[in-house]
Subunit: 107 residues, 2 copies
Amino acid sequence: MAKKTFSSKASAFLYKRYVAGDPAREQSYEEEVINAEIARKIYALRTKAGLTQQELASRIGTTKSAICRLEDADYDGHSLSMLKRIAEALDKRVQIRFVPAKKLRVA
Amino acid sequence: MAKKTFSSKASAFLYKRYVAGDPAREQSYEEEVINAEIARKIYALRTKAGLTQQELASRIGTTKSAICRLEDADYDGHSLSMLKRIAEALDKRVQIRFVPAKKLRVA
DNA sequence: ATTAAGGTTCTCAATAATGAGAACTCCATA
DNA sequence: TATGGAGTTCTCATTATTGAGAACCTTAAT
């Protein structure tokens, strides 16, 4: 599935080493984390439903390469409309929240 | 701000009268509700922050007409990247969840 | 009655996301 | 070792979202 979904120890290390303290980097790191989380959630939903990428693709009227793209932790183009299509196909709905900016805790 | 943000009584009435029981309509009704909720949240966040559309637009590098579009309950093109830009400008972050499909309760 | 601020609606060009197919890898297993 | 299923990566055409400006409506203040 992924390429950038570290174990939590490894990601904490990387965060401290390369990111902490630089606002621009913290921002883009944050973005990447969100993207990776979405990818992971889609993967988890699909596999829990016992579907292949091809099967999920058919349900929402696209191809397996598109599903693969959505499950790539590096993919940066997630849209709400696609998330809604995925959710609908798996009997879920998408919930969007604006929550207070994360205070990243390291160790 | 809005055009389709009913009071809860009115929306329950409309739902019963025109939508309940028709799966295709329930789906598109659901979509519209989600869109309207996002519009309302953006409006609420902006006004709580004491910003005009122009001011928020400047913060994220766009124009007031774009912000107005986002706050239109009928707007159907919300993207994750735009929501993240809004969130960042208002010291929030976007949380995405896949939750069980809503069982719509009417009255 | 003018003026200006805030907001809305409309266009259209520019940018970004999606659909789709091909070619590829990695594993089973026949 | 070959065949096929599952997944990945690449490309490019199509479609959808965004940026931007203009015109317009209200409302409040001058």
